[in-house]
Symmetry: C4
Subunit: 504 residues, 4 copies
């Protein structure tokens, strides 16, 4: 086959030629007008071979685009497999089957609420759920196992109630603070989330622009759809960015990534420590399955289908052997402050302090990794009293993420001792539904809520938020009520209000 690839460097390939290589034995695909021989790569594809075989001999650009950063093929497919340009006029345009789901989605898009009808962060999610592609929605919205931790993340805030102070002269409210030395206008940052192009063709740079406008920090994800440099290039002025890092088994690659980020001006290194393996997310798996399922035969347990949704598709390159022993090395290769993202109990916060890192994010990865991991806010309430008892509360900066939807959630975290909170999915949903204006409005709404609620709680500035302003007695209780007695419940005849006249 090598002679083919040499040959095609001189002339364009035709659709007809490529169409012949449509099997597991010889599998070519077209991406952005160029052909690639992926036959040997099939078994290595993190997303499984099936999804590639669906496009064998065909143009795979549309499917490929949103979940692979632009430099993927150069990085991971040997040059000899790059077959060269394709004369796209000769490629048969596949008549798309009519897809009633997609048609219904297009109808919903036509009737989308206008942006001003969104009054809170949940509203963006409601719109996004209606207008996003199902697989994209499934990837963003899914969580681990039964998604109990995912839901608990926001739920936990409901167990914290306020003890507001009155008559405090709250005419002027200052919501600004500093994070790792950077002054920001609001005590949250845009946390790292993968595959931004699933929601918007421009991807993560939209978040960069939104963050600039509201002077908050963006954390750049390792698994962005845009390349790292594209996201850096979108930065304006003295805008601050951080890097979220999945640590590669090959530490040379990791070192290169870290030092490149530092050179490009990143001001913080957030090492993800709660994902030695990317989580199983069944909603995502089920959605992916539907996509490739039609030509799948029922098979026995021996041949379990390993294609498991977008979540697993991007899961290579994460080193499960990462350990506390690696921390000194990280401290040695960069001057950026180092923060461990995904710490989940007080013992590990203490160990983090002892290891010399500069901060921790109390997080369970948005409920996407371990189900029944506790919420960040609950862990915070466990951590701070212990640190205060030791006098260690100022030795590192503590952040939380997960489930933040309201300014009251942010205030609760700050009262308990967090330096700030990370917000991820809500901005993805705002971006997916409305692009940059959506992100802008989401941030504006947060600011409006923040000022109002600080005023109502009687705190003029972030410094005035303190533990006496909250009642957290219910926070650590994980109660699941006794299952209901359905016979008794069914026979109960609920009270009703007055009936209409005609029904007397």
């Amino acid at each position: 086959m090598n002679h083919d690839s040499n040959d095609t460097q001189k002339r364009k390939l035709t659709g007809e030629e490529i169409a012949k290589h449509n099997s597991r034995e010889s599998c070519w695909v077209i991406i952005h007008g160029r052909a690639y021989d992926v036959t040997e790569f099939l078994p290595e594809h993190p997303g499984g071979p099936k999804i590639i075989l669906k496009y064998a001999g065909k143009d795979a650009t549309e499917e490929y685009e949103p979940i692979h950063p632009p430099d993927t093929l150069d990085k991971y497919l040997d040059k000899s497999k790059h077959l060269g340009e394709v004369d796209m006029k000769t490629v048969e345009k596949e008549e798309k089957e009519e897809d009633p789901d997609e048609e219904a989605r297009q109808e919903r898009i036509k009737k989308m609420p206008i942006l001003e009808q969104c009054y809170n962060l949940m509203d963006f999610e409601a719109v996004a759920k209606n207008v996003m592609k199902k697989t994209a929605w499934a990837y963003y919205s899914s969580g681990a196992d039964d998604e109990i931790t995912m839901r608990e993340n926001h739920n936990a805030f409901h167990k914290i109630w306020f003890r507001p102070r009155i008559l405090q002269d709250v005419e002027h409210i200052d919501t600004s603070t500093t994070m790792l030395g950077t002054k920001v206008d609001m005590p949250y940052y845009v946390t790292a989330t993968a595959l931004g192009k699933l929601g918007n063709p421009e991807g993560e740079v939209i978040l960069t622009r939104g963050a600039k406008k509201h002077n908050v920090i963006q954390m750049i994800p390792t698994l962005a759809s845009c390349s790292f440099d594209e996201i850096c290039d979108a930065r304006e002025g003295d805008q601050c960015q951080w890097l979220q890092l999945y640590v590669n088994k090959n530490r040379d690659i990791t070192q290169r990534i870290v030092q490149h980020a530092e050179k490009r001006g990143c001001k913080g290194l957030f090492i993800t420590v709660d994902a030695p393996q990317l989580g199983r997310r069944e909603k995502d798996m089920r959605s992916k399955f539907s996509d490739v399922g039609s030509n799948v035969q029922s098979t026995g347990g021996d041949d379990v289908d390993r294609s498991q949704g977008a979540a697993r598709a991007i899961s290579s390159f994460i080193d499960p052997s990462l350990s506390w022993k690696d921390i000194p090395w990280f401290l040695s290769i960069t001057k950026m402050p180092i923060i461990l993202k995904g710490v989940q109990c007080v013992e590990d916060v203490i160990r983090a302090i002892e290891s010399g890192v500069h901060g921790v994010v109390l997080s369970n990865h948005g409920g996407r990794q371990l189900d029944f991991a506790r919420s960040g806010i609950e862990v915070l309430a466990e951590v701070m009293p212990v640190l205060r008892e030791r006098g260690w509360q100022d030795r590192i900066e503590i952040y939380i993420d997960g489930g933040v939807r309201r300014a009251t959630d942010i205030i609760k975290a700050l009262c308990l001792g967090a330096k700030g909170v990370g917000i991820g999915r809500p901005f993805l949903y705002a971006m997916s539904a409305y692009g940059l204006p959506g992100v802008d409005r989401a941030m504006q709404l947060l600011r409006d809520e923040m000022e109002m609620n600080m005023r109502l709680i009687g705190a003029r500035s972030v410094e005035e938020l303190n533990p006496t302003l909250v009642d957290v007695r219910g926070l650590s209780m994980h109660s699941a009520p006794v299952p209901r007695d359905t016979l008794g419940m069914n026979v109960y005849d609920p009270l009703i209000g007055p009936r209409e006249k005609s029904k007397l």
Copy 2:
């Protein structure tokens, strides 16, 4: 334009003339048969310019009436903008579009349950929800953010259970008590609620008459639809009224209001301290949006729509810088007892006592301000043991409001140490649905419940209500159950009762 206004003092304006001023550049409106030039006022309108522009060049009376006290235009619009009388015969009657929602509402009004079918305060709310205009309902019924505090207010009473005493000779039950020195027949008062004309064209004076009949106190709201003097004038005999006060930035205005109220015979000054800024109520905002939304274009985040429902429309004139330092001044300008309305934790009750005021209302403003503020009844259970320990329980009178719907709720509050409770929305709903007879019946039902339940708890008089009669162990727990496992729940096959014969 000035010559116009002079001219129109001699002759009546015509509809045609006014209709020309239908834009942001020149905006006239007709109210109660007189024209006003509001062009310059547009940007200052607390309710936003959009709602005015909807009526530019037209008669706005119907929309204006229920949410502005009669003296509004005189007070806030310069005389030069009062253009004079309009010849209403020349004003084109706008053919109202058929509004299916309104038609359905008129149908529901025809089938309204008769008053005798209302057996408790919730029943009035059920009827009012059906027969009120949607925007009016939205204004009355909405709460802050997720409305969790609003619902918690009544919910909290469900966590308090009785420990009744038997064999107490309860033939004669005396429900009377005194509040700030006034003898009343029942231990509740009609608390201040804004915009009464949204529910009934006569407005707050209906509540005045109901309160008289049942010998309870009415608290007059700053933001009433009726003017303060109208409400005072409706008083009969030695009927007692209090004044609820939003403190204006201009203390001269505030002083004038307070001293006028004292002169008119008000017997208590309730200073609202939980609303340095009026709350965001999304139900209200969404309802208002629908109203003006049709001619709104989708816009980017830069141009966020600021028209935010009736709640924000009345929010000017409240001083967010009000602080403890202002209390001595208030004590100096009036002899009325001063009560802080909206205290929310024991520390502030202690401070209130130290500041020399005569009472506090433990309240979260009906759940309309800060979501996750605790209920008044819960704060009461926190406050009283601390006061008793200090021997301070009699130094001030303590009231609560929020969520009171049953006489048992009142009894619980009194057992815990409250002098009385405020009830607001339920009387608004009774008034909106049935006018004065509704308010009368609501009060009668409360009295019936009160006598019965005092008898059943074994207390002959308000004095006999005490903490040993209630079990409050569950009160302070804010539990939110673990999110449910939907896969497991869905697969459970609930037990069913015996089936009909034919289905065997």
Copy 3:
């Protein structure tokens, strides 16, 4: 009118004559073929005048029968108002309006499940709900206010869990015990419930026969539909009955009732102490209202309709001034053991012991009196540790009632220290649906459950039931979860199981 009544003693009255007296001014009714002049009685009727006026000039037998014991007219209407026999052939048969509700009920009766399909006590309730007249169902099934205590009664048992013992040789299970000295086969009794004929034309004597068959005690209600003597007469052999007593203001009447009961062989006197006034039950009031509502005009608050359902209709003759001072008198007029029924806190149990009575029933009247009264089982868990600490646990017999539906409920009560439990509504429902066979099966099912569950808990006899067999830590917690965040809940996309093939 007197001459009429004299006259009619000689000849029969005609329907035509009676039909003339059809107004508030002159109101005659026919009952069991005899006419009565109730004009003067109208305002005194405990059930209100409206329900009588509905039958003015007509035959009221059908409505009258089930809710008045046979001797009512003789007792309460002056002889001069007894107008004598009516020639029933001359009375116009009222054509009953077709009542779609009643027709639907008759259809449901045709399809009634057969008795063997009832496997537990809830099943009888499910059937009864379907086949009973709506007003009768409303009277039996209703509770106070929001019916929260009524539901809590059974609910509370759900908070008690077992700690069973294994390997106990449970071949022979003995469920018998003694109550007030009488040997019974099961540790429950049939507690007093009013108006048995609403459910079955034979009334309470059916319960007498069922109790005999299963050798358990029946408590005879003051407000039975059958007369006291009818119920006594239905007794067989050495069957044991108790008397439930509402104390009349006229102590002579009370003394007569008590001493008559003792003479007729009653073995226990249960004085109701939780009902100085009969409860408001809104379900019952609403159901009654529908019945008489059609000719009612909407009226103002001044003229509140006082006809308030079957519950209030029977509420006269109860003395609200009954007090601890009356206990010595009761002890003096009878040798029957005296038990206070409706005690609700430990302080009153101690006082009861000190007053010399022989027992208490911890009860809230089936949730029909005071809403938010605690369940009997919860009060029991409060009482027993205090008595045991004083060594008083054997000084009286302690019973509970309310919410007992399963043998496990009975076992829980006995483990905590109750001598036995009262069961009321379940037998009424069994009787209403299936008559005596229903009651018999209900009791048989309870026995089956009892033997099985004592075996499974490892207790061979009632004596072996003790507090170490139950875990009651959750019992006293009255938790009401934080209201849910509807925006967040609505946007959550619940996990679903695998879909059918065709839906892929």
Copy 4:
């Protein structure tokens, strides 16, 4: 009739002959081509006579097969009643009535999801519920009384949350452990469940094969559909099996069973101690009733129908007098380690240790025996701290079963101190829906979950699982929320998200 049975040894019986014996007076049935006279056996049939009479004079094989092990007739019906072979050609094929339920089931089977769509153990249950016969589903899925314990079993795991450790080098995860000395690949075993052929015609041997493939232990049930030897014969290589034992009143039979099992290589004897009587399972009873109900007449309480579903049908032969005194005898008749299955409180665990047995299973029989028995996991949390305090934690092996559905459930049990967990129903459902491939995939999914979650919790091996990794503070709370206020709930107007444009 004896001459008949002799006679038929020479010639085949005809369908016509058998059809004559179709009554209670003379009842013959055909099973597997042979006729049996069961007239005298009718009253002894554990499943009641009705179900046999339904097949009197007919071929009963299809009904008989799945719920009787092959050797049943030889064991329990006297040889004289074995009437000999039947000429099946002469037996009228009963035209099965069209059964719309069965037709709908066949339709659902056609559309069954393919195996790869099952991503967790609940998914198999969802499929099984759809494709199993209703009576089989009812037998497998039913629990005691209100099925509250059955649901609590899984529910209880939801009250335990993780405290994961980060940075632990979790590249290699070892899920293996030992149970009673046998090395296994996963810390669970396939626990004993009855009547496997209800789900799959091959029965329990499918579980044997699945267990072999994944190197886990199978516990052989006394009440298997396959005979004990069939299940032993299905064993391969050094595969390990245990025996679950219901103890027969006749200890000779028991001794024979135990010693035969030891001879056949069983490595553990699990004596069931939580079932002195088999539980009432109303779902099962109701399902059985529907089956035989059509020719049943409504009868009084005297003649209670005793046919009570598959659960009771197999309930003979269990000795309720089994007690602690029997333990030494068991220890004397076998060298297999002895484990008590169904221990439910710490007192009995201590007694078990003192009695010299080798292990306990903390279990409530899958919620099928005593409702309100606590979950195994909750009892484990009660037991281990007491044992550790005594230093007894290694004196026996402790297992739990009930409600295990996720690897996180297993991990929680191991963290708290269990040696392993039993899993029953999930494998039955996998087998019923998909046969051996289903069981295989279920086990593979558990392994995938196990590795991932151990990695995420930071534990490399089973030994590293320990109590500091879990938060169990909520576990022992049995909370049942206060019943809801339906009037208040109904009148609340829930918040909604933004509406579609056309609806403005």
